[in-house]
């Protein structure tokens, strides 16, 4: 057996937008063990339920993450609405679905840019972020916020979108499709990308399931778990199939996200065709008394919001399990046996969001 050495990876590293630390135990250039450490950006946001009443706490829930912020507010609202048996107007459900898919588009394009940059593919990085700007512009135009939207509330949504704007949004997305196809085909048909990603960081289907992988990390290993299939918001009225790849390597996880860009555009188009007229919110009185686990499909996978209330304005408990948190054990497993030079690509292939994970 070769002599083992431990190489620290992170918390500051060129490919890491957020701090996570990995102790990589190496034999020569091969990783034989991994000890992950987080905790650099733990904010204890869940504890703020004691200081903020449940209707205003949605602003805190939204700030758990700066990328999938909208989905956090949506899931929090759905959790409270389920406990309080609030019927959210159908138009609000469709609007929530549209904004959720816009979140996915901007998150996946952000990831694609970062991933390409991590490989030194700077033209893809710049083009991905150029396209992402269109998505953020639409989010800003319809919600008022680029990063934190603040549009979701318990009982509905705060803003409506005019039919003209909805048509303009679909037209914009359809116009963007050829550029997205070019961008993704340039990336995925590139010989050096295939060489770096195919057969690297393989997560077997059985391991992915028992280790709790979610989102594109699970779907890249052949597991068709996609919480949108449960039909929350307006997803129950939309036709779509989860994107699933079988090979379980970095390339498969990346391909899932690339294909999901087009699924999101299709879902938004269907929503715009089907969205009914009507109110966008209902009046909410009282306070939640009970508990519920609400789940949604964030760009990185399943997010769980658990809420327990006792009939008072301040909740007893709000607990969030984010997709990156549950994707840490699979990351540990798929790093074992890889080459040291492949570690950055494998870490980026799960699209980690550490701020989200630590809350």
């Amino acid at each position: 057996m070769s002599k083992q050495i431990t190489v620290p990876f992170g918390p500051q590293h060129p490919v890491l937008p957020e701090p996570i630390h990995l102790d990589l135990v190496l034999e020569d250039e091969r990783v034989v063990d991994v000890i992950p450490s987080i905790g650099y950006v733990h904010r204890g946001l869940e504890k703020l339920v004691e200081k903020r009443e449940y209707p205003e706490y949605i602003y805190v829930a939204e700030r758990i993450c700066g990328i999938c912020s909208y989905v956090h507010s949506n899931t929090y609202a759905e959790c409270i609405e389920h406990i309080m048996k609030i019927e959210v107007p159908e138009r609000a459900q469709y609007l929530r679905t549209i904004w959720s898919e816009y979140s996915r588009l901007h998150s996946h394009l952000l990831w694609l840019g970062l991933f390409a940059d991590g490989m030194g593919f700077e033209s893809v990085f710049m083009n991905a972020w150029k396209l992402r700007e269109h998505i953020l512009d639409d989010m800003e135009a319809t919600t008022g916020g680029r990063v934190i939207q603040g549009v979701c509330k318990v009982g509905g949504v705060r803003k409506d979108i005019t039919p003209e704007k909805l048509d303009e949004m679909v037209k914009g997305l359809k116009g963007m499709e050829p550029a997205l196809r070019d961008l993704t085909s340039v990336f995925f048909n590139d010989a050096s990308v295939s060489h770096r990603l195919k057969g690297v960081g393989i997560l077997q289907k059985g391991d992915a399931y028992t280790l709790g992988a979610v989102g594109p990390t699970a779907r890249g290993s052949g597991i068709g778990i996609d919480l949108r299939q449960t039909g929350y918001a307006a997803y129950g009225k939309i036709n779509f199939k989860p994107v699933v790849e079988q090979s379980g390597d970095c390339y498969a996880r990346c391909a899932v996200r690339a294909k999901e860009l087009f699924t999101s555009i299709d879902i938004i188009e269907q929503c715009v065709k089907k969205i009914p007229e009507g109110p966008i919110e209902v009046k909410v009185t009282g306070a939640p008394d009970g508990e519920y686990f609400a789940r949604a499909e964030q760009p990185r996978g399943e997010v769980v919001h658990y809420i327990k209330g006792n009939g008072k304005r301040n909740l007893v408990r709000h607990r969030v399990r984010t997709p990156t948190f549950t994707n840490i054990p699979p990351l540990v497993t798929l790093l074992k046996g890889c080459e040291l030079a492949d570690v950055p690509m494998i870490v980026l292939s799960i699209d980690p969001c550490v701020g989200c994970a630590e809350r």
């Binding site: 000890i35 450490s37 987080i38 905790g39 650099y40 733990h42 204890g44 869940e46 504890k47 004691e50 200081k51 399931y209 028992t210 280790l211 709790g212 919480l227 299939q229 449960t230 039909g231 929350y232 129950g236 508990e291 519920y292 686990f293 609400a294 789940r295 399943e302 769980v304 658990y306 327990k308 301040n314 007893v316 408990r317 607990r319 399990r321 948190f325 549950t326 840490i328 054990p329 699979p330 497993t333 630590e358």
Partner: protein
Amino acid sequence: MTLNQQTTIPIGIDELVARTAQQKKDGCRLVQIGCTQIGDDFEINYVFDKDFVLTNLRITVKQDTVVPSVSSVYFGAFVYENEIHDLYGIAVAGINIDFKGHFYRTTIKNPFTVTITKEDTSCQNK
């Protein structure tokens, strides 16, 4: 209609590992483990999913109770068990990767057991 059936089953701490192993045998995945403080008691929820149906095994313990780890059944449980230890001070015995209180870096020991009143502004403007 949203498919999200969920059932909570209170169990004894002595049944925990066996019931968790049974969940794995039944083809369930571990969704999360989370803790809630209710007065002097702590509810720990072990949530499993199969085909979008949630089963929540719940144990209720005191802070000085030593909870057995289920990381021998589900490897990924170590992140949740270390989190519960660091935020609530509940000891978990036999975690496969035990950070021994250093999973989160917190300024207050067991911060989620400290009650913050609405009037308390000590955490602000620092």
